[in-house]
Symmetry: C2
Subunit: 452 residues, 2 copies
């Protein structure tokens, strides 16, 4: 189906219906744009993270992993500029008592006249904009009066910069080299929304790539291509991706250049990942604030502060893009089916094992034994509930790429059918070769038949 | 080496030296008992989590995964009893101005006389105990005056209970069934310490297993054995584990029975994981507070509130136990070596590929090609830096179970040596079979030669 025909509601509904994502704290009325991941959501999200970390570390020689704490020493955020500058300008309406982002009134709704934007009617009485910091504050230690004010990190990047020296020393690295981190961040957004697209609590995948200053432009271009390639490799249609370079007046205080990889979400082209040339801003700031010189010293005594190229993606947002891009509806044999054409290495379940007749003991026994064999290495599901067509449909909706069906013929010649989720083609293979077939299927490059 | 000869300092030192774990925010003087994981720490921790989730979900049919938000609707913590009761009794000393846990004065040190406990000297002037809540508070929304007070979760369990109904409906489950979750929790402890053993920010692995009430005792016993088995399966010596049942006066408000799996840490026998019989406390509380009936209704109309058995472990603490249990020092060929005898599926790096002579182009070419082949499926390291003995030692210290060395003979007969980390035995295998050899080595049951 075409992107503009796909609404976010369909994705939300499928995610809910199949247990990928639930509204958080739902029995208590939720908590504004917070979500809990159900079984398939956890598996798919773990796959997104594993593919990212694999691409960053396992498949390369020049990047190491890190997992820093969420609550860092608060001086980190003074040095980074977040205490002073990580703010949104907000205005209050004295009439309707609502609060809006002053820099985005055009997309807000007046509390009294929902068809209007704040300021468009005479009723609106807006205050002057005031700046509010987006960092969540809390206190370390058992009493507020004496405890230290600390912050939940609004980005994982700073945890990387403050460990630069540790990694440089231990990992025996010479620029260019990178440090990759996956973890939760928190931003007290006034306008979260659009499902997983913008939430106050979210998971980031950030990599800081430290390079000699005169190579920064080259690596900036390199990482834009590299990250585009990662998304298409795992199934996103190239036509649904584009790169948009920030104008000078859009750039963050630390950035010399930033490009967004945008994805054609149902809400329109929106940021999927940002690739920034942060220059030497962060290392210089932390050198000054900490008194620890963060620089590279070469074997011949050459020394410099590396520049930093940062590809910064969101786990939740990437998963949303994978789901959106995979979602399809089609009519097969006069019945409509919903199918998630997920890449096999992103799909939560790799294969289903289905005894054609759930009451046939021999079929069940063969099916269970294949299932036990496959799940030693892969996430597979055994399903004997309901008509075979209904079981296929259920697996289609969660994106399971392969289904092995044990039928009468299995009992005769030790073969099973393998059904392909996308083409619906079925072929018979020897039951003994099923596991090797799966191993191979999950490792070979893969292209799904997708429209446009 | 024996457990009592191993000090925590040795583990801290190795973790630091090899880049497993760094003190957090170190360049800013740290932040009291907070840690950042370096490259090998991330890989090993990810393995611990993957093995747990695998054992809970992939290897079983009756447990599904969940990943709920860290910040939940605050009413969750009213229902769970945490707002009222998740407190420590603290006393202040008016003389030395320090604060202590009133229930643990014996392990605290007087601020003026470090050889004494608070209250032991005439100088001490202790206040009456006051109760302080251990939950971190923060505020949702951009202004404190009007924002909602919310909490960082002190346990992942409650996120499971509030999703009970969603999972019950969607996963087509009948008790007994379980919901497993891994994620960060936060407790504002006054006395964190002992490296990764107790930190304010930590990662939990909790599973809530919902059972018919009359089966609770049986499943409680089952899960104690099951969890013990998980630790020994991944290499912990049975002699370093024991089960300690809580006395009645130790039990938490929600618990009908709790047993700790204790591990012989360098600080002595201490809790590694708790298995609790929570009865129907949580589901009943959330039913009452949310107005949503959380019960099981069977096909014949039978209905009951399931009882809950909870194995609750810590990721960081489990990793610490795996490191401690794996740590060994021995003298080999008159030289001392430090070796981490980690289970291959916990070890951060599965194999090293080493060209014997780093300047020999043919060896390098064969080594790189083996490396590229192996890392398609496993985390492997290529190392050509320094004498071969030094490279082996480095891999021993990070616990790499296998090392493939490419030497003169490789160029003649296409074989490589495989060195076993523990026995130091070396054997030759065909280079073409190395990948299948690795696959097999990582799947077969494994017993390390450990003393005691």
């Amino acid at each position: 189906m075409t992107a503009d025909a796909l609404t976010m509601d369909k994705i939300v509904s499928l995610a809910r219906r199949r247990g990928f994502v639930f509204p958080s704290s739902e029995i208590y009325g939720g908590l504004g744009s917070a979500y809990d991941y159900g079984h398939y959501g956890v598996l798919a999200k773990n796959n997104v993270k594993a593919r990212w970390l694999e691409a960053m570390t396992q498949e390369r020689d020049d990047i190491v992993a890190l997992d820093s704490a969420i609550i860092l020493n608060p001086r980190v955020w003074e040095a980074s500029g977040h205490v002073a500058g990580f703010t949104d300008p907000l205005v209050d309406c004295r009439t309707c008592k609502l609060r809006f982002r002053a820099d985005d009134l055009a997309s807000a709704q007046c509390g009294r006249k929902p068809s209007k934007h704040p300021g468009e009617t005479e009723e609106c009485d807006l205050t002057e904009p005031r700046r509010f910091n987006l960092m969540f504050e809390t206190h370390l230690g058992p009493m507020h009066e004496t405890a230290d004010k600390v912050y939940l990190r609004p980005e994982t990047a700073q945890g990387i910069f403050v460990n630069f020296k540790n990694v440089l020393q231990l990992a025996r690295r010479t620029p260019p080299f990178g440090i990759a981190q996956i973890g939760k961040s928190f931003r007290n957004e006034i306008t979260p929304g659009n499902f997983l697209f913008r939430t106050r609590e979210f998971e980031q995948m950030e990599m800081e790539y430290f390079v000699p200053p005169d190579e920064a432009d080259r690596w900036y271009a390199y990482w834009i291509e590299e990250r585009l390639g990662w998304y298409t490799r795992y199934g996103i249609r190239p036509g649904h991706l584009r790169v948009r370079e920030h104008d000078a007046d859009e750039l963050s205080h630390y950035s010399k250049a930033t490009s967004d990889i945008e994805y054609l979400f149902p809400i329109g082209w929106s940021e999927l990942e940002g690739i920034a040339n942060r220059g030497d801003f962060d290392l210089t700031q932390h050198s000054e604030h900490s008194g620890t010189k963060l620089e590279y010293v070469g074997p011949d005594g050459e020394r410099y502060t590396p520049h930093v190229i940062e590809p910064a993606g969101g786990v939740d947002r990437a998963l949303l893009a994978f789901l959106v891009d995979a979602y399809d509806e089609e009519v097969v044999a006069e019945r409509e089916r919903v199918v998630l054409r997920l890449h096999p290495r992103i799909a939560p379940v790799k294969a289903a094992v289905l005894p054609l007749i759930a009451k046939d003991e021999q079929m069940v026994s063969r099916a269970r034994s294949l299932y036990e064999d496959l799940r030693r290495r892969h996430v597979v599901e055994y399903d004997d509930g309901g008509a075979i067509g209904r079981r296929y449909r259920r697996q289609d909706e969660i994106g399971t790429p392969f289904a092995f069906t044990i039928d009468e013929q299995t009992l005769e010649d030790d073969t099973v059918t393998v059904r392909d989720r996308d083409s619906l083609a079925q072929k018979r293979i020897s039951i003994d070769s099923a596991r090797a077939w799966m191993d191979d299927a999950l490792e070979r490059p893969w292209n799904t038949p997708k429209a446009g």
